[in-house]
């Protein structure tokens, strides 16, 4: 079958599923709702696989496949079609998205069974999948923005799923607004891009950008920075990351799908997709790397002290997204995408396993009230352990090891690599291993601190939840093997595979990059990575299994520092005091009461009115009559006159 039809068949089923469940779901039984929802995402996955297969077989590969379905917007010179752009990057994205989404749909069947709003949940989830696929298949920036905002909408709806809870609806609103600030950057960047190359179509844009003369570097840098503002909003980077931890108010499958595996990686996808633009504005790329690296480190330090299992994972996600940006920013885009893929598997697994824990614990998320759960939750424990190994970068069996290593190598040796980026990234790797094993120990090992009431019905989740966990665990291990490192005589096949996508950008970057003076060599870089992971894991095991009094002592000794960490550097509070409150006060007290009601309306408008009235009071004695009746007569006369003329001339 033709690729354009297959792609449509991949994208559309979730939309149909969302429409069916959205309109009729109220009358459906839960079984029907989940059948529609899971069926739609299953179909998507099947057609994603088929498309990948057909594309791989096609003669034009690895050239991108583009297809325009219909003209969506045309005004003046601006044109945006409903068009798809499918290349190897799209292929990776669609496969990752649909596979993870399908598994999470399956998992949700069990997880959401007793939660209420079952049909609403699946409607939003399907709609999300549709929007996400639109985002990654879109053939121009305008259509990409549709998916971009669409996933934001679904995120808003799903974070606020338990809408009677104030904290949930607050979190949804915050997510939408903060990401929208980023979207403003995206839009401005797109506007600038349009007036530079006169097109929004990927193919045209990428071709034009390559041909741009050197003096456009400044413009390209500006566009790159603006696009990255959008990416930073969506992918929760400094300083726009604040919405993601709060987003954990949503049901756990949502956290896994949207806030770990797919939507939050859209920013990374945007940067990778626009790699050629960033390559022509290397300063923008440097900013991407720096922000990514700092975010990775910053979020990891917060994760060190969190006691809420999901929040810890949320900060971990922010940190890992930082790694992906670090990779892209250092000029090794393929490594960033590689980490995006492995992260999608192990992080969604971590969240789903956390959901399984939460399920068993009647909604409890405080790790201080867990411990020793491995006896009761065997499968959950095993899968959580595998995912922890993956994210911590344990060699060979952790997929995160392979992808993170590529990023760190790039941070050192990539076209835009800097030693300090590498070292900070490596330190962050140690922090990652530490906080993840800390979480693992607090949850599953040691003595049980479970409250008796909750301990009573601790149970492993049913198979509809554990099977997806096991499948994801499988991927969490093997996903890393697709790119065997060169240090071990591998060929980094994944990078090789994406090479055609990033070739133009890489060519520009390599030609511009200064010769790297200091390099550690792949073996040493890998050695340091392993060392970092080892230190992190060892410390966590020592402090949280053996000598459990150490963390408390440390917290006491460094009380001030600990307080700052546990309050997440007071960033939320700062935003509240510096932006939210002043804006409200100024709007209400000054703009509305003083300017609008006071100055404009009170003095200027009504003042004029009163002045005139005073004057009129003198003059009124001349006139006496009913104005409206005058007016009505004027109208009637005019109409009759018109009718007369028309008939006379007809």
């Amino acid at each position: 079958m033709n690729l354009e039809i297959l792609l449509l068949l991949m994208v559309l089923p979730p939309l149909v599923g969302a429409a069916l469940n959205g309109i009729l779901g109220r009358r459906f039984s839960q079984a029907t709702v989940s059948l529609v929802g899971c069926g739609a995402s299953g179909l998507s996955m099947i057609f994603a696989l088929l498309s990948a297969w057909i594309y791989t077989k096609s003669a034009s590969q690895p050239e991108p496949f583009t297809w325009s379905y219909f003209k969506w917007i045309q005004a003046g010179t601006l044109r945006a079609d409903y068009a798809f752009y499918y290349d190897r990057l799209t292929l990776i994205m669609t496969l990752t998205v649909t596979v993870v989404a399908f598994l999470i749909h399956l998992y949700s069947r069990g997880y959401m069974e007793h939660e209420g709003g079952y049909y609403r949940f699946f409607t939003y989830l399907n709609l999300f999948l549709f929007m996400m696929l639109t985002l990654v298949t879109a053939g121009n920036y305008a259509l990409m923005f549709v998916g971009w905002e669409g996933v934001g909408l679904c995120s808003y709806l799903l974070i606020g799923f338990y809408f009677t809870k104030k904290s949930a609806s607050d979190a949804g609103k915050k997510a939408f607004i903060v990401t929208r600030i980023g979207d403003a950057g995206f839009t401005i960047g797109v506007a600038m891009l349009f007036w530079t190359v006169h097109s929004l179509d990927f193919k045209v844009v990428f071709n034009q950008v390559v041909k741009l003369p050197l003096e456009f570097q400044g413009v390209m840098t500006a566009i790159g920075i603006l696009l990255f503002v959008g990416a930073a909003g969506k992918s929760a980077q400094l300083p726009l990351y604040v919405w993601l931890p709060d987003a954990m108010e949503g049901p756990t499958p949502v956290s896994a799908l949207i806030h770990a595996a797919t939507m939050v990686t859209a920013g990374v996808y945007l940067v990778a997709r626009s790699s050629i633009i960033f390559a022509h504005g290397p300063a923008a790329l440097a900013i991407v790397a720096i922000v990514g690296c700092l975010t990775a480190f910053f979020a990891a330090t917060i994760a060190l002290t969190q006691n809420d299992l999901k929040r810890m994972l949320a900060y971990s996600t922010i940190s890992q997204l930082g790694y992906m940006f670090l990779g892209c920013g250092a000029g090794v885009f393929a490594a960033g995408i590689f980490h995006l893929m492995t992260h999608a598997f192990f992080k969604s697994l971590l969240f789903l396993a956390a959901g399984s824990v939460m399920h068993a614990m009647s909604g409890e998320l405080d790790m201080r009230k867990m411990g020793g759960l491995r006896h009761k939750l065997k499968i959950t424990h095993a899968t959580f352990l595998i995912a922890t190994i993956a994210i911590s970068g344990v060699p060979l069996i952790g997929s995160g090891f392979f992808s993170k290593d590529e990023i760190l190598a790039g941070a050192m040796e990539g076209p835009l690599g800097k030693p300090w980026l590498y070292w900070l990234g490596t330190i962050t790797a140690a922090l990652t291993a530490f906080y993840m094993f800390r979480g693992l120990c607090m949850t599953f090992y040691g003595k049980s601190r479970v409250e008796p009431r909750a301990a009573h019905h601790l149970h492993e989740s049913g198979y509809e939840m554990t099977v997806p966990l096991m499948v994801l665990a499988f991927f969490s291990v093997v996903a890393g093997w697709v790119s065997w490192p060169t240090a071990w005589n591998g060929s980094e096949a994944f990078d090789r595979y994406l090479e055609p996508v990033f070739a133009p950008a890489n060519a520009v970057l390599r030609s511009g990059a200064a010769e790297q003076s200091a390099s550690l060599g792949p073996g040493a870089i890998m050695g340091f990575s392993i060392l970092a992971a080892g230190i992190g894991i060892a410390l966590a095991l020592w402090w949280y299994l053996k000598s459990t009094e150490i963390p408390e002592e440390l917290a006491e000794r460094f009380a001030d520092f600990y307080r700052i960490l546990i309050h997440k550097y007071y960033v939320d509070e700062a935003y509240n005091w510096l932006i939210v409150r002043p804006l409200r006060t100024v709007s209400e007290k000054f703009l509305w009461r003083d300017v609008d009601a006071g100055a404009i309306d009170g003095i200027m408008v009504n003042g004029t009115g009163e002045g005139t009235a005073d004057l009129g009071g003198v003059l009124r004695k001349i006139q006496s009559g009913n104005i409206p009746s005058y007016a009505a007569w004027v109208l009637l006369g005019a109409v009759l006159w018109l009718l007369y003329i028309l008939t006379a001339n007809a």
Partner: protein, 510 residues
Amino acid sequence: MDWLNEHTLTIVIFLPLLGAVVIALLGRTRASSARAVALLFSLLTFLVSMRVYLGFETCHGFEEMVPWMGSPPVNYHLAVDGLSAFMILLTGFLTPLCVLVSWKSITERANEFFIFLLALQTGMIGVFASLDLLLFFFFWEVMLIPMYFLIGIWGHERRVYASIKFVLYTMLGSALMLTGIIYLYNVTGSFDLPRVMDHLVNYSALSPVAERWLFLAFFIAFAIKVPVFPFHTWLPDAHVEAPTAGSVILAGVLLKMGTYGMLRFCLPLFPDAANAFAPVICFLAIVGIIYGALVAMVQPDLKKLVAYSSVAHLGFCVLGIFIMRPEAVEGAIYQMFSHGVSTGALFMLVGMLYDRRHTRLIKEFGGLATSMPIYSTFFLIVTLSSLGLPIMNGFVGEFLIIVGSFYRHASYTVFASIGVVLAAVYLLWAYQRVFYGEITKEKNRNIADCDLREKLILTIMVIVIIGMGVYPQPFLRRLDRGVTTMMFRLNRKSLLLTDRAPARHPGVGR
């Protein structure tokens, strides 16, 4: 058939008035027959307006030309292009829905209500179809009268204040515009728009100073109507006090007359002045966008919030128009229509809530999503369309305006984008306070969800909202040629236009 084809515009203008006459002739029968007649005639008008919209390209804009007065020579000259046909379609679309919205909520003096509503429609369509300056002015003024009564009789507590304020404000602008029209007649010897335009273009009859004064006379009249900051304070009062149908028409159509006038008169007649004032006007538009949004954010009254959001949305339209690039202008026109639909729908929704609870204060609500799931879903969709979410109508216009605005100056784009963020802030915050959370007021617990009539109205609105977002091309296509020609003429005539875009590099672009 020929007669019908030749007089399509006359029919679409006076069909509603005919309906008003029929209702008047019915006398004091029951309200039900009056509203049925009103619905029938407004639906017929909608059909004719569809005909106008779909056929204007092949039928030479349905031009009609009949001498009206000999001296001075005033003609009954009608014709439409993509812009005016689009606005007539909007009017035709919204009026039947207004009749439906008022179906139950207008119980007192219903006959008269529908008479005024239909008469108002005649005035509005007349404004959009007139090509004669004096005829235009005539309809412009005529329209005020029914609106005055709609607010003054069927409005809420402060209706008299609001209606007088509305009329006086508009009259001030009208006086200026009339002066301008007469001056133009003295210069060109005609009231006929095409002739006036030809004369001005071919003979350069206006001194730059005169052109600027004339531009201002027209612009202020339209700016009051839009309303452009700082002429906007009549709007919250009029909107809040008007009955639902009045607010819908006010926001949906009447405000668009301002932007329509700018496009129809200010730009083509006084291009140099327009260019000269464009930076100031764009600045005011941006102030309107940000200011409207911020003031909307802190409104305790839901209807007032929607009213101030109109100030912000219309700011986008004015900004788009004075960018004077086809992309932005088409975006502005699209936004005019789409604001009519979205904000119209918002006013309908607020009206439905008011019918139930007789209050519009946000703090009186909370948790309605639990008790009114269907209503809250509709409200959410309309809210999202109003904040410009893609695949809904609001996005297309906003996107075109924002992208287009960059052509003039990057700062416009930045501030307009901030406006988009603020729209999300005030709308989602209001939505949260009204619909989310636990039910706190007992009265909200057993509040009725949408009935069939309301579902019908809202479903139609949602279909249009999504339809216009998913497939805007049929609309944009009809605008494109006219707007592009107009902008070409504008930019050719005045080479003052500074080109700031880096696009003109010889090696790049098309």
